[in-house]
């Protein structure tokens, strides 16, 4: 979670990028603290991918600066900068002539790590990502499924243990079942816990599920930067409101937690025993898919009622 007392690990100031007369990123500024996950969200063509690529100098800005750990990135060789930042893209881009193990080992090798250490790290990462090395290390990318390839892509980005990871629609090309599964793994991945993450997506649900903060972009401009709850309940403008309109209810269910509905629950409800940080959505899931279905009114009905009251209590 964000520790706003520490110095920002990434600071972008007034970033602008034009292609011809067309500005794809306009005057974007933000500061990101270590361990924070920022999701860049917006419709296609809003400039979110360009913004991401400005951070590791795959694109150079026309104006503005990026500082990482207080140092202007332009004072570093772009290659060296990138080796210190994990990078995952939608099409994965595994090197087709490298084995899975060699793909994962790419950055540590570029950095000149010891071969034995590289091997151990690769094996550990593959195991962690549910790709047992005995079975997968020697395979080639074309022998893997899309989901497996993206897991290797993730392992590759993590191999040198960079403090920052950039992800460009990492789950975008996967089928819904695989996507949900990998997203869960992603959330639960220990290696990612203390990383600073910038993730690009156009999937609102994905953004709410993963983000500490969301930056909603349109036509290269920041529409709103804030926590999911702020974007949902204190929308800065009509664009933001309209952007979430279609999925308002599922987003509210994901955003409000049991802690929020607590005051409105009937006293003695068994729901009070669940963790307070659990989103209402997940609590509902547990109530409806558990092995035993409590017929009592203390269940779904009570929760929905409390949820409705909590919504009304939110400032609009």
């Amino acid at each position: 979670m964000a520790d706003s007392a520490s110095a920002p690990i990434i600071r972008a100031t007034g970033l602008t990028k034009r292609y011809g007369p067309h500005a794809v990123v306009q005057d974007v500024s933000f500061a990101l603290h270590p361990g924070e996950t920022l999701v860049l969200l917006g419709p296609s063509g809003c400039g979110k991918t360009t913004l991401l690529r400005l951070l590791n100098r795959l694109v150079e800005p026309d104006a503005g600066t990026v500082e990482i750990n207080g140092q202007d990135v332009r004072r570093q060789q772009p290659e060296e900068l990138r080796r210190g930042i994990g990078y995952v893209i939608q099409q994965v881009g595994l090197l087709p002539h490298y084995s899975v193990a060699d793909n994962v080992a790419v950055v540590p090798r570029l950095l000149g790590h010891a071969p034995a250490a590289i091997e151990a790290r690769t094996a550990a990462l593959l195991r962690r990502l549910h790709l047992p090395p005995e079975q997968y290390a020697a395979r080639f990318p074309h022998e893997l499924s899309g989901g497996q390839q993206q897991r290797v892509g993730l392992a590759r980005a993590l191999a040198a243990d960079p403090p920052i990871i950039l992800l460009d629609e990492p789950f975008g090309a996967l089928d819904p079942v695989t996507r949900t599964q990998i997203r869960r793994d992603f959330r639960e991945l220990e290696e990612l816990r203390d990383k600073t993450i910038v993730l690009v997506t156009h999937d609102v649900t994905e953004a709410f599920e993963l983000a500490d903060r969301i930056m909603l972009l349109d036509a290269g401009r920041v529409q709103q930067l804030g926590t999911p709850r702020e974007l949902l309940f204190q929308s800065a403008n009509d664009f933001v409101r309209r952007f979430f309109a279609a999925e308002r209810l599922p987003l509210q269910l994901r955003t409000l937690t049991l802690a929020d509905v607590q005051p409105f629950l009937p006293p003695g409800s068994q729901l009070r025993e669940l963790p307070a940080k659990l989103p209402v959505h997940d609590a509902l899931e547990q109530l409806t898919s558990g092995p035993k279905r409590p017929p009592s009114s203390a269940g779904v009905g009570a929760l929905m009622h409390a949820f409705e009251q909590a919504l009304q209590a939110e400032p609009v």
């Binding site: 881009g93 087709p96 002539h97 950055v107 570029l110």
Partner: protein
Amino acid sequence: MKTLPELLTFWQTQAGKLGEQTLQHIGLTAAALLLAVVLGVPLGLWLTRRPRWAPVVLGLAGILQTVPSIALLGFLIPWLGIGPKPAILALLLYSLLPIIRNTVTGIQGVSPAVVEAARGLGFTDWQVQSQVELPLALPVLFAGIRTAAVIGVGVATLAAYVAAGGLGEFIFGGIALNNPVMILAGALPAAALALAFDAALAGLQRLDSRRLVGVGKVLLVLLPLLGGLYLLPRASSKLQAGFSPEFVGRADGLPGLRRAYGLRRLPSVVLAPALVYEAARNADVDVIDGYSTDGRIRAYGLQVLRDDKRVFPPYYAAPVVRPALLQAHPELRPVLAQLTGLLTDSAMTELNYRVDYLHQQPRAVAEAFLRQRGLWRDPRPKVPGAAVVRLGSKIFAEQYILVEMYAALIRGATDLSVETKTGLGGTTICFEALRSGTIDMYPEYTGTGLQVLLQPSPATLDSLNGQPAAVFDYVKQEFRRRYKLEWLPPLGFNNTYALLMRQRQARELGIGSLSELGQYLGR
């Protein structure tokens, strides 16, 4: 099918030469291929980084590809002389296009996502090229190298024209001498070489791209070694000769000379007839074969070595015609006869000099000569549907001039229409064109008719003993009997074979005749 045993015999007797030519051929091809890879691949890589230049460079390489190889060699000779340099450069230029193009195509075919990911992970541009793009483009690149190799083997046959050796020596010798066995003796190994190169590279192509990188490295070592084959030591001696393919093979050419004068220690290279004079002038070689009336003898300061033992038969020029032509148009006979005995050796040398050295048009030279002799008449107006007389010529200036003279005379004195088919490759081609009726007439030389076309027994040759009149009568008689073709009376000059040296060198070494050349070499 007598050809096969003859071919085997030929290979057997010429085994040394065959081996040498094959090695030269491989060496030339490999050297050019290596250079093309060393130049073409980086150029292709550069083009993928500067796509704006791609159409320019590929267009240029494409244009080079369309220049006929023999013309390309022609352009390179004034600049590089003769020998392996122009041959390798020409081969290189031909190999360049497929290699550059396939490098570019191969690299453009690499998935952008892979390149994007590699950059994002911190590959430098050089690492992206060498570790990602090149290995992934290698199969396509290899296909380009394969194409270049096969083209190279083919074009390398032309190296023989610039004294760079290779299997073309047999092929062009065979063409010049109308000897199919000799052509096959060079063409078959050349074809086999092309197939072998192709198969070897195809085998490499099938390997997966990781091993291909290793193979590529092996190839970079192997190609210079193969190229080195070319540099195998050759015999060195006092004088170096350069002969046209025809001269090397025909009985009254080099073999006859060697019999009469020795000349054993005269190493020779083979080169295009059009280049021998240039080679002698530039001192690339010292002794050449030529024709006694060639204009360049005077222009280049060369000297004819006297044929004191009369090895070269007389080569009196005379028109050879299809009798049908004279029967259909009897008025032609007196028109054609106007040139009979009119052209002396010196007159012909002078005319050749104007064309070969002063670069005047053969037609203008012919007209000037006819005007000077009072034979010129303005061409008659064209008669629609007039019969056509087709005049052929071999591919050198003297023949062009003669054909232009005949054309002018016929146009001025008859209503017949004239068509010229000049530049027919050689004796055999002219002769066959005449027999088949593709042309009606061309100027031929008595010696050529005797030696190349009739090929009489040594006994017959002895009986003729090089007597001009005897040779002409024999040729005329035999052509009538065997081919039903008619020799008209000779024009006057004797354009015989000759060995030539630079005047200055000949004087310094005290060589004026072929016997003296033999003595000098034997010393």
